[in-house]
Symmetry: C2
Subunit: 850 residues, 2 copies
């Protein structure tokens, strides 16, 4: 970008400054009166709110001070306008304009995001499956030593017996119990080692722990959480989740996949990587290196993540939509749609690479197996069952609320006692994994019953037949019997979900594939362990554990209904109830409605469930919301992240607050032309992100705003003017139109994104302190403002809907009286403001309310 | 609402004024200096834009002058704040607050909307089906007179022949041809009469013509189109569409159902009806009687409409989302979701009322029949077919573009020559219907071939068997043969769609259920007629005709592929191709992507098509957008409705415009305290909706804004103060804090919604003209403002995203320099502004561009 149209004459090239320090020496030093307007915010204050004292941020919001908001709009300054008109100038008369080029690049990058995320998901899936398989094979070998195993294989007589059998012979029993013990220890050891490996990756990059969905929610909400979308985070998350799933913990890959998709998107859009040595020029400066483009890519990536995790492209788009609904644009919907479609196409092609020219196996797309109609029936449920589903939804909402409450308390305890030390977190992971391993191994032993495999399978679908092959003959005769509880535990979670969804019941209670006892014995410990596990230092998703626990719960509900069914009819299809239970528990935990419906529909491939699923999820949400919020929101609040809900907080609805009451009056202002030393001291003394520029000549009229990053860049590049030229300015002289400092171009400032210079990087010499810094060309002259009498509803809506970073509060004369940032609009801050200075009658109301 | 807290002492009750005119007589008349600030907007103007001349609205936008925007935010005036604090005061210490009551009512009303829309849809469906059936029965009877018919019934010999058979006897041929002619005339007559009836309803209420989707799009965009959501419109639309569908025109019920849902929602939320004589208090003033609540209800109603039309609840929510994406909130998503769910549940219950306790027939929910897997195959398509689908999508996009272009030209012609006269529109309807009837009758005769009914149907599904029963034996032997073209024409459109979707092919070309020739003979005339019909004065949807034509087109494409298939394998499943073709043509016409995908998925009930459908719709959209816009947008633009696209118009992206350039400088301002006569004259002289109130003492600082409705109400209620009290005000004296006129409460003003008093309703006496009207308590003191240097992108985003009605443009001193309304942001206005005063280099660019 070296073109300079005529009207942009003055520009200091970065090389001039950084290599040639002599140029600065010419600017003489002046130690004269160093009057800073910045120190007198009180003189700007309007008529009354805030009581005159400086407001400190409340301790509740204190930890958030270092978290910045994203900046979704360019600062509309003179240099920005010059840059824009330069671009327009270059485009005159061209068909293939910069905008079109950029749009094409955007689509190509979106396509790449989709493809890469599909491969990431496929590799992650494959590796965790391979690791699991290796683990179970080894343990199985230890459990059934080759001799015994071969005996089982070869002989079909009944006199060969197995562990746990009453008639077992002495030596054989000994061998069996020995092999059982060694298998147990091998099992525990493998699981703990896998979990420890996962935990090491979280040690390396702490933000890669947990589900990642809360973090992505915050990112889309406009909060710049550090290191969330770095490539390092991606690697740690993906490798970590592969091991944590292989470790047999009750965790899923789904949340981490969503996070992974977001990081892939952010990385590809921001990265400067060459592809195979060819500069694809996807990564040139200024194309997508800003917060708005990054956010859009992350939204697309999140959609691709959901698509790859569940095979649910539309659900993915809706997920992004539900989480970032405020700023969503139609164009972005197409892109997210396209990205999710690319992912699912790629995954589809990867999975069907062997049948390229034959009929594709669509079933491979349905993560939880395709539901089919009960043969001869028009649907798998009746109308009268709809209220039953609603009740299951309510119960699921209750379970979810209990889950959330328990996990919340546990997380608070963990934050106090564990999380401050990395080694403690590591030890916790090992201990919890050991506990999970013991419970996993003991439960099937407690159950200890062997169930015969179904025999009459002529009319079964391929899916059901393959599920039968996945049943685990833990301590039972392989090929003839299986252990019900072991079949749910010693397998991957999604196969267990498929079994609960699709396994058909035998005719009677005794003959059912999963009896009520087994389901109960599985459900209670499993959901308890899931509660404990979420929050330890491994990457861990919550969708799959919720779905699995819920499926067991739903099937239990179905069994209960079977007791009523004296005619032994076909009603209360167990698979349907398992699906409803799964939806209920997941809905009660996460409280998403519309995207969850679509995700489950897409993952099970049968549209007949649209109505029941809607009912279940709706009632789960309503019930759960009576008690607490969704788990993701709980974790966001526990981490004290300044998350702005899409709706105005109830406290603002219930009380009459105006912008002037909630604003922070601790405003640090600058004059349009300011001494470099004043700016430097100001930046050093506070960590505000934005500084209003006010016109002292007119008593503090808002001239514009200056961002911290821009000021730091100017100071670092030393874009100063001589200290002599403005002798009478400090005494109130008017400035006139002349420009004082050399002009730094807009893209010179923005090229540093997202790592702008910090104030610590600036080397302020004494000789420079009195030089003048002309901020007028860099000032955002059209900042969003709000009148101090505006209601908090209007202010909140303006701030949240436009995704602002700050909002200047002005009085009738356009004088700055305060500034509103994200922190000031959080419910806690609002209630603080309410208790502080406000009209007498409102206080009275509040007292009555108390 | 008679509670008056202490701080609201002065209030003129409406009864006081309207019944007691003497009270006004006390206000003495003064004919003194009648200086109006309003006439001098130039004195308020800022520094430069607009060249100083008064800007007239351009002729392009002139027809829109009478169309108002919705007002989504309350004017935040003192009286509003008093009202709000009054509500808070009443709620102090209560658990069951006004807000909670209102929320509950809102949910109950939403539920009612869902239920009622389901019944409306069911009744409409049932009646149009009954009318069609009656029509076809009658024509069939005439075609096959009882004698012949009974002969057919009784005898199974081959010597009885039918019309068109070569060996027919003389008299019988005569009779047959006579019966044919009379059947033809009966057919034409019935169709024309039905269409005429439909047209009469459009005569009664012109806005009930057409699809209704463009109108709802505009409504959700924030445009207050007159009479769109009246109950009268609902009745005309629903009855009209019943008849227009029964008339055999190529129109669908879907668009009108969406409109109907919206009207039901608006009616229920706004109506004052008692239910069965019990005041359910759903309709009390101030609960939902404002534009914001109405818009939210309409969005829910639109979702319910789609749900009832296609059985697609999630698609419905997405439809509302796609059309009104800018302001969408999460809470509203739940409500739309709930509303759509209620509708679909009710419809489900209505349709399954006979099998309440058995298995519900889910298939009845799938409007276009449920797709099932080809037996023994994993899916109905292979991976290599995905590119083929994309090509079909492109072709569909082309067809859609041609359709749109043809219909656009036709509509322009129609607007010039037909639409200005109601009788001409009526005659047009009759002529077009006659043409449709003739073509419909002639095409099967041209085809003239009889195809044998499939015989070997053991392994066919129930759905397929019932479709076979629906085949039409036009001139063929009933029960043995059918006419392929007649089977597509002489039936309801959705049954025809089902046949194209689900009828399986015979093994060879000769034996296929619908041969290529028949499809071609159907496709070309049908899509031509559909192009002609859309726009005549009957309620008519476009979804079904597009889908039907597209299905025929898709099946044709499938046949083409069959030619390649020498092995006569199962690839290129005709049903799948029909579905893809339908999606392609509809997508090419309407250009919706994500909601259409979901609607089609939900209407066909098979998730395996998610990927192909996404591909097809995406490519159809891309291809179509190369040529023109979607049909709904075309019609919106032809009607010159000031529709604001969700994205900033390209012209703003391509050029560098600021708010000061596009604003209207023809601002009519008022002083905070103004003579009643000045206000009256101002309101009479222009039809602006909002007037800035500026402080003359400070040179025109923006004090607030006053809405036209509020001013009219104040004038009508004569809330004046004595003309004596402010002698020196006109000479520039400061006002001080005293209140001058009696205070009218906020709910007194808003109670009139949406039919506020007009200026013509105000009876301005000469004695009142000099009285003072104190606007300060009623002024919206925190209007949204934008600095004149703000870029047009920022201005557009602010305006569109918040759904504003106006935007005050101010300079640095908060002085009003202009006002931006919806009209100023339309692409046409923007390019006008560009050609007018702007910087020299930008003009140069533009010339280069030209």
């Amino acid at each position: 970008m070296t073109m300079q149209p005529e009207f942009m004459k003055v520009e200091f090239n970065s090389n001039d400054y950084q290599s040639d320090d002599d140029a600065v020496g010419e600017l003489p030093y002046m130690n004269g009166h160093q009057h800073g307007f910045a120190d007198h915010p009180a003189s700007l204050r309007g008529d009354g709110y805030g009581g005159g004292g400086t407001i400190k941020y409340s301790p509740l919001t204190a930890p958030t001070a270092s978290i910045q908001s994203h900046n979704y709009e360019p600062d509309e300054s003179e240099v920005w306008r010059a840059y824009v008109s330069q671009v327009h100038f270059l485009n005159r008369g061209q068909w293939w304009t910069t905008g079109k080029k950029r749009a094409l690049k955007r689509w190509i990058l979106t396509f790449l995001v989709g493809v890469i995320q599909a491969f990431v998901a496929a590799i992650c899936n494959f590796s965790s499956r391979a690791l699991s398989k290796w683990k179970y094979d080894w343990v199985y070998e230890l459990l059934n030593p080759p001799a015994a195993a071969s005996a089982v294989m070869n002989v079909e007589t009944d006199d060969l017996t197995f562990m746990g059998d009453e008639t077992v012979g002495g030596t054989q029993a000994d061998a069996a119990s020995k092999s059982g013990i060694s298998a147990f220890w091998a099992f525990c050891l493998t699981q703990v080692i896998f979990a420890a490996i996962a935990s090491i990756f979280v040690w390396i990059e702490p933000v890669s722990g947990g589900s990642g969905i809360p973090e992505i929610k915050c990112f889309l909400n406009g909060i710049d959480l550090p290191r969330i979308v770095r490539v390092k985070t991606l690697l740690c998350k993906v490798v970590g989740v592969t091991f944590s799933v292989a470790a047999g913990l009750p965790v899923g890959k789904e949340g981490p996949m969503v996070h992974s998709g977001s990081v892939v998107a952010a990385g590809i859009s921001q990265g400067k990587t060459n592809f195979w040595g060819v500069d694809t020029s996807f990564s040139k400066f200024s194309d997508f290196r800003n917060d708005r483009e990054k956010r859009d890519f992350v939204a697309c990536g999140a959609a691709a993540g959901v698509a790859s995790a569940f095979g649910a492209p539309i659900g993915g788009v809706l997920f992004s939509l539900e989480e970032g609904a405020s700023y969503w644009s139609t164009k972005l919907t197409w892109r997210a749609f396209f990205c999710a479609m690319t992912t699912i196409s790629t995954l589809f092609a990867i999975k069907n690479v062997d049948v390229m020219w034959g009929q594709a196996d669509v079933a491979k797309l349905f993560s939880f197996g395709e539901f089919t109609h009960i043969s001869g029936e028009a649907s798998n449920f009746s109308i009268w069952e709809l209220p039953v589903f609603a009740i299951i939804g309510c119960l699921g909402g209750l379970i979810g609320a209990v889950f959330n409450a328990a996990n919340e308390h546990l997380t608070i305890w963990r934050m106090k006692h564990v999380n401050h030390s990395k080694s403690r977190r590591m030890i916790e992971v090992c201990l919890v994994t050991f506990l999970v391993s013991v419970v996993s191994f003991v439960m099937p032993l407690v159950w200890g019953r062997c169930t015969e495999l179904p025999k009459d399978m002529q009319d079964w679908t391929n899916q059901e037949k393959s599920l039968v092959e996945n049943l685990i003959p833990f301590n039972c005769e392989p090929g003839k019997e299986y252990n019900e509880v072991a079949s749910l535990i010693f397998t991957e979670a999604d196969i267990a979900i498929k079994q609960l969804f699709h396994f058909r019941e035998g005719g009677s209670e005794d003959n059912s594939t999963f009896s009520s006892g087994a389901l109960f014995l599985f459900f209670i410990p499993y959901i308890t362990l899931a509660t404990i596990v979420y929050g330890i230092a491994v990457p861990s998703g919550l969708f799959v554990p919720s779905l699995l626990a819920g499926a067991a719960f739903g099937r239990l509900c179905g069994h209960l209904l079977h007791k009523l069914d004296h005619t032994n009819g076909t009603f209360a299809d167990s698979g349907t109830y398992a699906l409803m239970g799964a939806a209920a528990v997941l809905g009660g935990m996460a409280r998403m409605t519309i995207s969850l419906t679509v995700i489950l529909l897409e993952a099970t491939g049968d549209m007949q469930y649209v109505l029941p699923l809607m009912l279940v999820l709706m009632s789960a949400r309503f019930t759960g919301n009576v008690f607490n919020e969704g788990l993701y929101d709980i974790h966001i609040h526990l981490k004290k992240i300044p998350f702005l809900e899409p709706e105005v907080p109830p406290i603002a609805e219930r009380n009459e607050i105006v912008a002037g009451q909630v604003m922070s009056t601790e405003v640090k202002c600058l004059r349009p032309v300011e001494r470099a030393g004043v700016v430097y001291d100001l930046l050093n003394s506070c960590n505000h992100g934005t500084f209003p520029i006010v016109d002292t000549a007119t008593g503090g009229t808002l001239y514009g705003t200056a961002s911290r990053s821009m000021l730091c860049t100017l100071l670092k590049r030393r874009a100063f003017g001589s200290p002599d030229i403005l002798d009478d300015y400090d005494n109130g002289e008017n400035l006139g139109p002349r420009r004082l400092s050399p002009l730094v171009q807009w893209d010179t400032i923005e090229r540093a994104y997202p790592r702008y210079p910090e104030i610590d990087d600036v080397d302020m010499r004494d000789s420079d302190r009195n030089c003048w810094l002309d901020l007028r060309p860099y000032a955002n002259t059209a900042p969003y403002t709000v009148n101090e009498t505006a209601s908090i509803q209007r202010t909140y809506r303006l701030f949240r809907t436009l995704g602002l970073r700050f909002l200047c509060v002005v009085n009738y004369n356009n004088q700055v009286v305060g500034i509103i940032t994200r922190k000031d609009l959080l419910p806690a801050s609002l209630s603080n403001s309410l208790l502080r200075g406000r009209n007498a009658h409102v206080i009275e109301d509040e007292h009555h309310l108390d």
